[in-house]
Amino acid sequence: MRELKIFDKAVNVKRLLMCLYIFLAVLLVADFFIHKHGHFPWENAPEFYAVYGFLCYLVLIVLAKALRRIIKRREDYYD
């Protein structure tokens, strides 16, 4: 069986992440050149979606980790 090994090399993972960072920078710049027509005033604020997306992700993970302390059980809990 033929095996792909592209991500076994750390340099390829780095390249992929670099692409992501560059694209993020492009998005931040593009934000100033588009015509905005949001339903709410804050949608028209600069970089609103970038900030909201990033913060939401952090909040989600922090809350999920807190939730895990309460709801986690062994796999045979119901058996």
């Binding site: 593009a30 015509h35 970038a50 997306g53 990033f54 939401c56 992700y57 952090l58 989600l60």
Partner: protein
Amino acid sequence: MISGLPPALLFLAGAALVPLLPQRYKQAFMLALPLFALYLLYNTPLGTYWSFSFLDYQIVLMKLDRLSRVFAYIFLIISVIGFLFALKVEDDLQHSAALIYAGGALGVTLCGDWFSLYVYWEFMAVASTFLILARRTPAARAAALRYILVHLFGGLLLFAGIMLLLAGGGPIAIGALKLDSAASWLIFLGIALNAAIPPLHPWLKDAYPEATPTGAVFLSAFTTKSAVYLMCRTFAGAEVLIWVGAIMTIFPIFYAVLENDIRRVLSYSLMNQVGYMMCGIGIGTTLAINGTVSHAFCHILYKALLFMAAGSVLTMTGRSRCTDLGGLYKTMPLTAVFCMVGSASISAFPLFSGFVSKSMIVSAAGLQHLTTIWFMLQFASVGVIDHAGIKVPYFTFFGHDSGIRASDPPWNMTWAMGIAAFFCLGIGVFPQPLYDILPFAVDYAPYTGAHVVGQLQLLLFGALAFVLLIYSGYYPAEIRAINLDFDWFYRKGGRAFYRLVDWSLNGINAASDRWLVNGATGAVNRFARQAPAVVSKLVLVPVWWLFKVRGWPLEQRKRALERGFARGALPVGVGALAAAVMLIVLYLLA
């Protein structure tokens, strides 16, 4: 006239035929049947067909309008894809069950009266159970039992609601209802259970991950989305759904972050997506309904695609837990690519299908200035990119190398995924054909500069947070564990409740004696045996009472019900019972 033939009847007849056909013709038959039904539907003008009087009621087996047609289209398309995916499964039970199940969903969508709807509803409940049972593991059997009990309860709610509606002089024809009477609330709850609205949701995440690899594909499409259709038909604009839907988009994403089994992650993700649809139905404007219907259409395709990818992994490796998987892209590159197309679609990346449908619902919320709802929906969008967009492909196909070297699945499974992926991309790039078949004329442009950049920022800065969290080691590790959900109440709480009643009614001595003699297994068995009758009585007695059945006749009916359950003759309609008998025979024979 053959063009008005209800596809449901075609599928039910096909289900009876499947076990009789030789393997080679069976495969061609299973593909040809939904394709033929699709061809017929395409050539059927909008209108009412197969309508007749029964007693004083007008039964309508085929009522094609713009709302039912788009759902019928997608149910048939996903049938073609699902049967292609399941083509090499040598188990008549699964094929027949899937055909009856799909037929039930098509029947619910296309019938025009409450009687037919209830019969098809029970067909779906019974047939879908066998797609779980067919896994033939103890865990699947237990999950299937819980699943059917919950759905019989939901069916009884619906049935009680329909009876009350008709008794109150309501129309037999299915139409818009207002949440102002016991009848409409019972119907609402019956539909809500199938739509997995919390707290009526845990059956979904309990049962779907236990289904067969191919069965889960059908399960992911029909039960919840036929409920979405019916909710659209009956309760569009019911404001309670706005909040219910928004909450439903949010709470499953926390579970999806923590869950270990990828098919369970996808199950939570399914609820999250149906949450958007419920919210859209609650908003009820033409844009919101169009958004809901188009989102259901796209969702069926990408969710089936994700379940097919997970099913391929399960088929080829025998594993479905994140802790057991990783690095599979090396030898399953096609599955990995198709999975990522599904991930991009559900995350609503521009050029993928979720982008052109979900945004209509979010925009509708914005147009109505529902500020809190709008923030909740956007928060949930970030949640989707976490669990379905990143977690499922990352921990399955990348992440740490599990050492498993399984190949891509057989051609039919690969092609089924490829076709679904093609639709996901096709709709994302050319949404117009989908917009053309929506219930209302579409005045919406998804591809504006602000929308594309805003959505990409929202998703990719979320992805940036993932990169930072995973490198810092803060991202919650995958662990072998389960997470408590509302099913605790009937899995643990039900037993505890039973024990409490048992104890208080029989006295300490008798109870402790029974406890020592029979042990916990006896209690569980008795509970499982008696629960359906008790639950049904709880629902039906008030209904009978309202119908002025009191005193001795009431006692007689109660006893008849108990006897029925004791013999296993559940009141699900003769047709559904026949289907059940046939499936049981197939289950025992195989």
